[in-house]
Structures are given as structure tokens and as C-alpha cells.
Amino acid sequence: MCYVCRVAQIRSADPRGKAMQSEPIIRIENLTVRYGAFVAVDRLNLELRSGELFGLLGPNGAGKSTTIRVLIGQRRPNGGRVTVAGYDVVREWAAVKPLFGYVPDRENHFEEFTGRRNLRFFAGLYAAPDRRIDECLKLVELDEAADLPVRAYSLGMRRKLLLARALLHRPRLLYLDEPTANLDVHSAAVIRRTLRSLAASGVTVLLTTHNMDEVEEICDRVAILCRGRLAALDTPQALRQRHAERKVDVVLSSGSRRTFDLDRADERALLGRHVAAGEVTSLHSREFDFHETFLKLTGTEFA
């Protein structure tokens, strides 16, 4: 029986599968991970729903990658519990493994093989048919370069090949560790588009990123981690509404610059007078600034 069929069988045979539509697909409860005395993740609680595109934000050392390592079974938690589709990731690892695809932060291909050969090897492990290789290559726009050796690939092509590999067995969950870091605009756009369409088709996507624009553009929800703790959890829009500053920066005809706080009546009136007198050379409203918000929430510069 092929791997994809086995995954389907596991889902249909498990009574817990019936409840999965309404319940969160990933449930992280009081997750704690320590490296010696250093607490990488500190009593983290998170729930992800099916088909959600979830962003995990945080400075270096915030615990994003450690959380993903726990989810892929590479790191045992020191405390708390993590379940994926109702299965405990520690005790029921064999049942969890078929459910997810993983895109690591650094590419790990067989350099001496072509892109297609790399995918064929993993497709062989998953017992996926050859046509699935072509589908995945096409999905990430690598079909034309498929027969070149990976050592000739650019960074963007390597990242796209990682994504193609993670999708070979049609996983229900996709974990990505900084998938668009250091990529050119086009490659990043291809990956974002692919992730969006996967989420639309019901795949749950969890990604860590440093790119604020990316979070705003594609994520349904975002969690901000700081020193292993959850600093904020909401949709990008809600964060925008909550943390956007109602201020305008004005340059007057005298050459002086001023900032008016629109939440204060006296400053609103003063600004009105400047406008009526024709003294305003330029006027800019302050847009929502994720960097500022991040700084406010975590007390840390975004790395």
C-alpha cells in the first residue's frame, strides 16, 4: 500500500479523526523546552486550525525553531503536551510522521543528483507515483530546471525544491522554517503563492519568518514569541487595528516638522488651523508599523 493511501487509512480508521474538523489540528499545551539552564520555550500554549496559515514571529532565540523541532519529533519537550490531529507527538510519533511535511531553514539536498532525482528518491520512500513528482515540480515552477544537478541551482531554486519535496505525500500539515529568507522577489512570491493555495485547499501551514510584510500578506494568524513566551496572538489585521498609531507627520511652510496626535482634541484643532491657513507643505499619516509593534510587545529589536 502506498504511503499516501496509508495516511488516508489512518485518518479514516481513527475515531479521533471524526472530531478533527471542529477541533484544532495542532494543540500545544504548556510546552516547555530547556537546553541546560536556558529555557527556549516557556509554557507555550497554541492552537492551530485546519487550513490555517499561521506565522510564528520572534527575534533570534525566541523559541520558534525549537517549537518546530518539537512538532517534527526532533526534540522531546521537557514539559507540557503537543498533539497533532489528536496524536501525541512523543508517544504516537509513528502516526504523526505521515501527516506533515517539513521545509527546514537550510537546504538539504543531494548535491550530486538532479532536482528530479532528489524528488524521485523521496517519492520512492513515500511510494508516491512519478506523476506526483511532475506535479510538485510544476507547482513550484521548477519543471524546466528539474534535470539540472542541484549544485547548479540558485538559492531560490533550492528552496522551491525543498517545498516540492515536502509536498510529495500530500501532507495535511506543512512546517516551514524561514521559507523565504534571502530569496529574490520572484522566488519568494512563488513560495507565498503556493502556501496560500495550499492553505486554501485545507493544508495547515505553520511558518516561522522574519519578514513582517510576509506575515501581513499571507498569514491568517500570527503569534509573536519572545524569550520562549507568547507575547501576542491574533490576526495581522487585529494587530494592525490594535497597535496602529493615530498620528500624522507634518512639514510646515516655515520648514519646521511636527507630529500631531489625532487622539488629542487640542492637536486635532491645531492641525486644522494649519491646514486652513495653507501652512502645510506635506502631511503623512503614520501607517501601522509591525517593527514598532514588535518592539513594543517584546521590548526587543527585530533581528
Partner: protein, 374 residues
């Protein structure tokens, strides 16, 4: 044991493709084959047995009774042979299964008293020279006979020995016998054995840790472990592939150098045990090393470390310690298997090597399952 053979097959195929893409490895394998052919086709019978360094470096004087004759010989070693003649009671000499053992590059003169009630000569002087080189002991023999004659003259029984008649016939007090030392390293056969052993170590102790280290360092091993392949299946594929690679290359080289070896069951047993042992060592190194560089260095350090250990043990008569090294037993049993000189103690080598190989494999499996893929 692996349940999904398609996974093992895919992993085996991957290993094969990786090695086919490794031009350095292919070139080295080709060089080994060329070396075996050169060894096989040219100068088959002209190489004398002995040590890899020509002549006899030391001559042991093994005696059973420390009498005045021995004392005389001990005090009359000429300057040119000083340091090259070693007197020792036969009781303290190294034996294997009751047989006196001499290191390569040495010869011996044994002075054995005969039973007095048996009649005939009182002593048997037994010359042991390395391999076919009967003249290798000539300078030691000349000194021995000269001083023995002087001693016997001084003790007023000169008629008992005649230096002009040292051609092989025994006189009334001394019986003379000459024998070649078995098992001396004939350079060509030693090289053939070394090639076969090198092929096993090249495949199992160098390539396996190196490529596995590379996979771990680059995260490919983790990618495989996150796929349906279990650590057991990854391990099984590596075992199978490198076992077949090592065995195949070694058997090919042995077949070129010594075709007759291929029909000896002992050869295949010895080869299988040596390959399993090398595989255990290689996988243990692969499990411990985190990077390709440390894996290669680990393999090199292991090889040099064991060589040093064996040398120290040999020089200091610490044989029991060297029995713990697979590298002590494998060359002996493989050499005997290839040359067709299998003795009872070679079966002992085989049994000990099998136990050691099992220990290495157990250690390797435990280590790999614990941390090998991480």
C-alpha cells in the same frame, strides 16, 4: 527488522547512485583493481618469503638448559652481531597452541637437549630460517659453530665436533636440523592480503562514516528520518549496501590475486566476519561523528590507533591485549585463507573475530538508533 522493502530498496538505490557519482571513490576502487592485477600477472614465483624488510634482523638462541655452553656463547657475541642475537630460555618464548612463534624478520637457533637414555647425540641444534631463504642465518651460523667449536675444544672434547663437517650430517654429540619458519610474510601474498583488507576498510570504515557524516551534517539524514523510512530501515540499507560493497570489492581483489581462495569455505567465512567487523567499526564511528570531517578523521585515528596498539603489544609481548583487536585476527585468518595455509589456530582467530565483530555491530546498532540519524 525493516517491514517495507520498497523503502530499503530505495535507500540502497540512493547509496549506489551516490557512489557512482563519487569519482574519487571510483578512481580508488579502480586503482585497487589495477594493483591486484599487477600483483597477479607479474613475477609470480620469484619473491622469497620473509619479512617485508629483507634478511634476518634478529636471531633468537632458544635453550632448554642454561649450561656453560650457553654461557660461553652469551659472552662471545662478536661486535657485528651485538644486539642482533637474543638469548632466552625456551620456557619464556611466545607460543601459540604450544608452537614457538617468532616475529617476522627473525630466525632462531634452538638448542634442545636429548634424553640421555635414548643414546645418540646429546643435543639437537635446530636452525629456523624465514621462508625459503636458507642462507638468511649464515652470519649467525658461522658465529655459532665457531664459538661452539672453541667451547668444546676448551672443555677437551674437540673430537666431538668437526667444523668442516657442518653440511647437515650430525656427529655423535650434536644432531643438526634445518626448517623454514612457517607463516613468514611473503611480500606478494602479504600485499594481496593487505589489498583485500584495505578494500574492506575502505568501504566500511572510511566510506560509510564519511558519507553518513555528510548526510547528517547537511541534514539529509534527518530528511530521511522524517520520511516513512524508520531508523531501522536506514540502518538496514546502510548495512546491506556497505556489506555488499566491501565483500564484493574484497572478493574481486582476492579472485584476481589468489583465484584458488574463492573455492575455500574458510575464505568466505573469514571475509564475512572481517566485513561484519569492519562494518560495525565504521557504523560506530559514523554514529559518533557529527560531521563528515570528524568522521574521516575518526576513521583515520581509529586505524592509526589500532596499528599503534598492535605494535606496542607486539614489542612488549602483550598478546592478550592484541587479541581484543579485530585487526589482529583478520589479517592472519585472511592470509591463511588466501594462501591455503589454514591451521587449527586460524579457526580460533575466526571465532574470536566473530565475537568481536558481533560486539562492534551491537555497539553500532545501539549508537545509531540512539543518535545516529540526529
Amino acid at each position: 527488522m525493516p517491514r517495507n522493502w520498497h523503502i530499503v530498496r530505495t535507500l540502497l538505490h540512493k547509496e549506489l547512485l551516490r557512489h557512482l557519482a563519487n569519482r574519487g571513490g571510483l578512481a580508488l576502487a579502480a586503482l585497487l583493481l589495477v594493483a591486484a592485477m599487477v600483483l597477479s600477472f607479474f613475477g609470480r614465483d620469484d619473491a622469497p618469503a620473509g619479512s617485508l624488510v629483507g634478511g634476518v634482523q634478529y636471531c633468537f638462541i632458544d635453550y632448554w638448559e642454561d649450561d656453560p655452553w650457553i654461557e660461553h656463547l652469551r659472552h662471545n657475541v662478536p661486535r657485528e652481531l651485538e644486539g642482533r642475537v637474543r638469548f632466552r630460555p625456551a620456557a619464556t618464548a611466545t607460543t601459540v597452541n604450544g608452537i614457538l612463534v617468532y616475529p617476522p624478520g627473525t630466525g632462531a637457533i634452538q638448542i634442545r637437549p636429548r634424553a640421555s637414555d635414548a643414546g645418540g647425540p646429546r643435543y639437537k641444534v635446530w636452525f629456523w630460517h624465514p621462508g625459503k631463504d636458507g642462507a638468511a642465518l649464515a652470519p649467525f651460523e658461522a658465529w655459532f659453530w665457531r664459538e661452539s667449536y672453541r667451547y668444546l675444544q676448551r672443555t677437551a672434547v674437540p673430537e666431538r665436533i668437526d667444523p668442516e663437517m657442518r653440511g647437515g650430517s650430525a656427529d655423535e654429540d650434536l644432531e643438526e636440523e634445518r626448517s623454514p619458519l612457517d607463516g613468514g610474510l611473503e611480500p606478494r601474498s602479504a600485499m594481496a592480503t593487505a589489498l583485500v583488507l584495505f578494500a574492506l576498510f575502505f568501504g566500511c570504515v572510511y566510506l560509510l562514516p564519511s558519507l553518513t557524516g555528510e548526510e547528517r551534517e547537511r541534514g539529509i539524514l534527518l530528511a530521511q528520518a522524517l520520511s516513512p523510512a524508520s531508523p531501522g530501515e536506514i540502518l538496514a540499507a546502510k548495512f546491506l549496501f556497505y556489506l555488499l560493497l566491501g565483500l564484493g570489492l574484497a572478493a574481486l581483489l582476492a579472485g584476481i590475486c589468489r583465484p584458488a581462495a574463492l573455492v575455500r569455505p574458510f575464505f568466505w567465512l573469514a571475509l564475512a566476519v572481517a566485513a561484519l567487523g569492519a562494518l560495525g567499526i565504521g557504523l560506530t564511528i559514523a554514529s559518533l561523528a557529527r560531521t563528515q570531517r570528524s568522521a574521516s578523521m575518526g576513521a583515520l585515528c581509529y586505524t592509526l590507533g589500532v596499528s599503534l596498539l598492535l605494535l606496542v603489544c607486539q614489542q612488549n609481548n602483550l598478546w592478550p591485549v592484541s587479541y581484543l583487536a579485530l585487526e589482529y585476527h583478520c589479517p592472519r585468518m585472511l592470509h591463511a585463507a588466501m594462501e591455503g595455509t589454514i591451521r587449527a589456530y586460524h579457526w580460533g582467530n575466526l571465532a574470536t573475530a566473530a565475537v568481536l565483530a558481533l560486539a562492534w555491530i551491537t555497539a553500532a546498532v545501539l549508537l545509531f538508533r540512539r543518535r545516529g540519524w540526529q
